[in-house]
Amino acid sequence: MAKLKERHRVTIEGRELDITHPDKVLWPDKDINKLQYLQYLIEVSPYMLPFLKERLLTVIRYPNGVKKEPFYQKSCPDYAPDFVPTHLHDNINYIICNNLPTLVWLGNQGAIDLHAPFNKIDSDQPSEIVFDLDPPSREEFQLAVEAALMMKEIFDKLALISFVKTSGNKGLQLYIPLPDNTYTYDETRIFTEFIANYLVNKEPKWFTIERMKKKRGNRMYVDYIQHAPGKTIVIPYSLRGNDEALVATPLFWSEVSASLKPTNYPMDSIIERIEKKGCPFKDFWDSKGRQDFSSVMTWLKDTLPQLKGK
C-alpha cells in the first residue's frame, strides 16, 4: 500500500477538517489503521449519531492505538475546530457530538470509546433506562445472556419494549426507551432496583447486587446504581479499546442465546451486518412514544412503600 500523506484536508457536510496520520495503526492485532476507523465511523454514523445527539460526551482516547496508554476526556480541548458544539455543565465544557464532522474529528483524535449519559442536555430526566449486565470476566458471559433472557421475559410480560446490545467488551446492555421528560431518575431507580432484586432472589448463585467486588465471587453484578444522573454508558456502535476491535453492537433478541459470544462483533463485521439484517435499534426512537411505562411505575409506587413500611 502506498504511503498516505501525513495530513489530508477533507470536507464533510461543508466543514473542513484535517485527517492526520491516516495510516497510524490503532488496532495492531487486527491491523486496523485510523483511516479504516474513520471510514467505519462515517458509514455507521446514521445509526450512531442519534445516541450522541444533545448529550454530554465522554470519550476514551487512544492517540497511539489500543496497546498504548489511553486517557479519559470530558472537556473540549482549546484546539477543537469551531464547528464542534459544546455545552457547559458543572464547570466542564463538554463536547456535544451532534454532527458527522464532529464525530470524524473525534475519531481523528483517537477517541474510541464514546460514552453518553441517559438524559439529554436540556433535561434532567432519563431518556431511556439502561441495565448494564457486566459479568466478572468473559468466561462468565453466559450469566449476562441468562440475565438478559430473564429480563426480556419480564419486560414482555410487563408489555415493555426493550432492546439489547453487546457492551463490546464482556457484557450485555438492555435498553428500555422512555417518553421524554416523563420520569425522574428517582422513579426509574425504583424500577431498576426492583428488577435487580428480582434477579438476585430468583438466581442468588448467579447474580448479586453486592457493592464490594471481593464479595461477589463469580456472580454477575447487576448494576442498577449505574443508571443515575451523571453516569454514562457506551453508546451503540461505539468501538472499545480492546485488541479485537469489538463494537458495542445492537442485537436482535433472537440473537441472544447460548451461542452468542462477546467476541462475535468486531468492527469489520458491522457494516455488512447492518446492510444484511438492518439495525436492531431501528425502532428505538419511535418506540419512546409507544412505551407504556406508567402502568408499571404506578403499580410499583403504590405497592413497594407499603411493604417497606411494614
Binding site: L149, N197, A258, D292, V296, W299, T303
Partner: protein, 274 residues
C-alpha cells in the same frame, strides 16, 4: 407534633379539651440484627410450641396467668369495654399539690398539652392559676390501656403532664442489697467531701451534656459506611412473588399486548443447572 391522646381535663366546673403530645424522645441509635451468613434482617415469628405452627394476629387471644400455668382468658370485647369506660372519662384533677413534694422517682413520661378546639381560654385559665398558686394538679388519666396517675403543671408557655408511677410500681428500698446503715465518718473526711461538692456546684445547664457514647457510635458508623459502603439486604419480602403480582396487574390492563411467552430453558440454563 403527633397527637397521642385526645380528651379533656375537668377542673371544677371548667372542662378543657386538650391533646397530648410526647414531650421527650428516645435518641438511641437502633442497631438491627442481621443473619450473619446472608446479611438479611432477622424477623420474629410467633409460634405455638404445642401445635408447632406459626400463629398470626387472628390466632392469638389475651389471657392473665393468675397462677403458674393457669390462665383466665380475656376477650377483646371485655378489654375494649373496660377501656371505653375509662377513656370516656375526662381527666379529673383530683387534688393540688406542691411539685417539691413528689420525689423524682415517681416521674415516668412527659407530655405536652395543647388546647383542643375552643379550649384556648380555659387552657389559659388553668395555666395562669397554676402559675400564680405555685401548685400543680394531680389527675388520673387512661393512656394506652393503662390508668395512670399524672401531674399537670405549667412549663414555659405550655401546660405539661407527667405521668407518675403508682407507689406499688416503685420497688422497696429494702430490696436493694448492701446499703450501709451509717458509718463512723471523721469530720475531716466530711469536710473534704463537702468542699469538693461545693467546688463542683454549678447551675444546671442541660445543653452542656451530650451522649458521648452515641456520638462516638454514630461517628464509627459513618466512617464505616464511607469506607466499606455497607451491605445491602436482600428485599425481605419475596420479590419473586411481587413480580408475579405486577405481571398480573399489567396483564389485566393490557390483555392483548401481552405476548404468550414461555421461554424454554436455554442450553445455557440447562448446562448451569446440570
Amino acid at each position: 407534633m403527633h397527637t397521642v391522646w385526645k380528651g379533656s381535663i375537668s377542673f371544677g366546673l371548667v372542662n378543657i379539651p386538650v391533646k397530648l403530645h410526647a414531650a421527650t424522645e428516645d435518641r438511641d441509635i437502633k442497631l438491627r440484627q442481621l443473619h450473619k451468613k446472608c446479611k438479611s434482617p432477622i424477623k420474629y415469628k410467633k409460634t405455638c410450641e404445642n401445635c408447632n405452627e406459626e400463629v398470626t394476629k387472628d390466632d392469638i387471644v389475651m389471657a392473665y396467668e393468675y397462677a403458674p400455668d393457669k390462665f383466665i382468658e380475656l376477650d377483646e370485647e371485655e378489654l375494649e369495654k373496660l377501656r371505653k369506660d375509662q377513656e370516656g372519662k375526662a381527666v379529673d384533677i383530683i387534688n393540688f399539690v406542691q411539685l417539691e413534694e413528689i420525689d423524682p422517682i415517681y416521674f415516668d413520661r412527659s407530655y405536652y398539652l395543647s388546647p383542643g378546639d375552643g379550649g384556648g381560654k380555659a387552657y389559659s385559665l388553668l395555666r395562669q392559676s397554676l402559675a400564680d398558686s405555685g401548685k400543680i394538679g394531680l389527675a388520673k388519666i387512661m393512656i394506652r390501656s393503662k390508668e395512670k396517675l399524672a401531674v399537670i403543671r405549667p412549663y414555659q408557655d405550655a401546660l405539661i403532664m407527667e405521668t407518675l408511677h403508682y407507689p406499688d410500681e416503685v420497688r422497696a428500698i429494702q430490696e436493694v442489697p448492701n446499703i450501709p446503715e451509717g458509718a463512723d465518718l471523721s469530720k475531716k473526711e466530711m469536710d473534704t467531701a463537702t468542699l469538693l461538692i461545693n467546688q463542683l456546684t454549678e447551675a444546671f445547664e442541660p445543653e452542656k451534656y451530650t451522649d458521648d457514647y452515641r456520638t462516638a457510635l454514630m461517628e464509627l458508623i459513618q466512617e464505616k459506611v464511607s469506607k466499606e459502603g455497607g451491605v445491602e439486604a436482600k428485599q425481605a419480602d419475596n420479590v419473586v412473588d411481587l413480580m408475579k403480582a405486577l405481571e398480573e396487574s399489567i396483564k389485566k390492563t393490557k390483555p392483548k399486548k401481552t405476548p404468550a411467552t414461555g421461554r424454554k430453558k436455554t442450553p445455557a440454563q440447562e448446562r448451569k443447572k446440570a
